[in-house]
Amino acid sequence: MESNKQVPVTVLTGFLGAGKTTLLNRILTEQHGKKYAVIVNEFGEQGIDNDLVVDADEEVFEMNNGCICCTVRGDLIRILSGLMKRADKLDAIIVETTGLADPAPVAQTFFVDQDVADRTKLDAIVTVADAVHLSSQLTDHHEAEEQIAFADVVLLNKIDLVDESGLETVKERIRKINPFAKIINTTKCGVSLNEILNLDAFSLKRVLEVEPDFLESDHDHEHDDDVTSLSFVSDTPLDMEKFQDWFSKLLQTKGQDILRTKGILDFTGESDRYVFQGVHMLMDASPMGKWPEGKVRSSRLVFIGRNLENMNLKEGFENCKSA
């Protein structure tokens, strides 16, 4: 199906009390004349001001495809497939998750289910975080780490309630978990909506724009966060066969601990840039046109996950370089 017919889906995550409902209601009241469907969970905060609110159950299904970390949200498949049969076309769909939800099955649903992928597209994962409480939540709940790890945008809310150094500390912690997420400081979720909607964050084109702070990846384990990120750069072209061999084995054996990956790859003998991005073991990859004139060709690879230091990632990546 043509991509312009795909309805964008924005996923709102964040802990209870962070301000998800405030943000949701802002989106719904400010986007006049647009038709939104809002999918909420039954334990969520109340008071959503929209005609089309659908209750979901956050039902996580394991796919029976031999991949233990491949889980999807069964309720989303059912509801999104139903919504796509409506006669009146929707401008966008917003999925609100509970504070304790793992974003991976939500994201994986858009990779795995063909009907969902044909008619909708995951636009972005927006995580609302409470600047006051995020640090303790990150320490106490692995779900909070996952929500930061999967975020395309972190809306750091209630910044009026922390001092400047406290704010810097929490931002640093977010960056350490997820160097690509855009962090937006807000009070009462006061953010321009074009910074959180229609981002197309899961498209491969966007991966090309990702410029995380590669050089700042000094791994001082001040907070000892479980989820971290590692990035690698190489100006030596890679051997395609070696890379595919290493990377597919890596995902097959460590896919459960690797939450998100993104990369731009320069293969020997190929004139095109290869771009990919993935969630756990699921991967979207494609050649994305020629390297720009006058720019140095280099491969860049970023991992977000757990126990990354035990995966020999640096060695594995080095071994993919063409001799």
């Binding site: 029976n64 069964g74 063909q114």
Partner: protein, 347 residues
């Protein structure tokens, strides 16, 4: 006076299209149900239309959002919607509400032999003949489909992890047993002889159980989810969508295990999206993702004729009247063809 104004556009049309009635409604067709020689169709704007021989169809507003599911109870149409309502609609268009679940969708409806069923979330609501209040059958996950056996004594409920099989004992109590198979199960049907139970799964495959000894097996090899499947000619074949061919699994004799399906190919390599048996024949109607529909004899694959040419929208329903005289075809873009199957001289 008949001018040939439409001569050019009609050149590519089939004789079935030329002699039938075509509607271009622009509203997604969800599904349809046959009641005698009438066919009721549910739409993505909450309306239904009832097609009877020689009569035009006016929309009947049934649900606020979408008609999620449509079935029949005797001579009545029953529907469930995303407005949480479970409705009974007579062939004259009179609507009565059986139940209202508010913001919860009514995902599946069925009926047999006086028992009436709808599902919402994890629950089956079962009205026994003459009872006002439903019995609630609870399940651990959302229900993917429901089906009664031919006598209405057993109710199969598909879900995550398998099928719950509810059986009515002679004191009219419903007791459950489980048929387990890992994964999420969607649509479920009994074979017409009640010997087999078949489900389609979230994965691109079907699963079946032989009920006598509860042996089970998987039918796989599909390129897409199998959304439409049905038994043909009593229980001779199970015909399935989800591939570029109409895949027909043999269910006669020892069943499908260890046997190869018959694959009926179509020109253009489009995905089969809907299959419907021709009543009492060893033949099927096959609807494709480009809107075209073919009639084929299963064991003579050369014997295929085109019923409807393409509309560029996937076929979402095909229904044939009980007497086998007329066919209704609907697609995702809201194009409908309602036409007679037989040429005038062959009637």
């Amino acid at each position: 006076m008949k001018a040939d104004l439409n001569k050019f556009t009609e050149l590519n049309k089939t004789k079935f299209e030329n002699r039938g009635k075509e509607l271009r409604l622009g509203i997604p067709v969800i599904n349809s149900v046959v009641i005698g020689n009438s066919i009721a169709v549910g739409f993505g704007d909450g309306t239904i239309r009832i097609f009877k021989a020689g009569q035009s169809s006016e929309p009947i507003k049934a649900h606020n959002g979408i008609v999620l599911c449509i079935s029949k109870d005797g001579d009545d149409i029953i529907t469930g919607g995303d407005d949480g309502r479970f409705l009974r609609i007579s062939l004259n268009g009179e609507i009565s509400e059986i139940a209202n679940f508010g913001s919860r969708w009514v995902d599946h409806v069925t009926a047999n032999n006086g028992s009436l069923v709808c599902t919402s979330g994890n629950n089956v609501y079962l009205w026994m003949a003459g009872r006002k209040e439903p019995k609630i059958l609870e399940h651990e996950s959302t229900i993917g489909g429901v089906a009664f056996d031919s006598k209405g004594r057993r109710l199969a409920v598909s879900r995550y992890g398998g099928v719950t099989l509810w059986k009515k004992d002679y004191s009219n109590k419903w007791k459950s047993s489980n048929l387990l198979w890992k994964g999420s199960h969607n649509k479920v049907i009994f074979s017409p002889d009640d010997r087999y139970l078949v489900t389609s799964m979230q994965e691109n495959q079907l699963h079946f159980w032989r009920l006598k000894d509860k042996t089970d097996s998987t039918m796989s090899g599909y390129g897409a989810k199998v959304k439409s499947f049905a038994f043909v000619h009593d229980t001779k074949f199970l015909v399935t969508s989800g591939s570029n061919d109409a895949v027909c699994w043999p269910f006669d004799g020892i069943g499908p295990e260890g046997r190869q399906p018959i694959c009926l190919p179509f020109v253009g390599n489009k995905l089969v999206t809907f299959v419907e048996p021709f009543p009492n024949e060893n033949a099927i109607f096959t609807g494709l993702s480009d809107g075209s529909v073919f009639l084929s004899e299963i064991e003579k694959s050369s014997n295929t004729i085109i019923i409807r040419s393409f509309t560029e929208s996937e076929v979402t329903t095909i229904s044939v009247t009980e007497d086998g005289s007329s066919i209704l075809i609907g697609d995702m873009a809201g194009n409908i063809l309602w036409t007679s199957i037989w040429d005038e001289e062959n009637k």
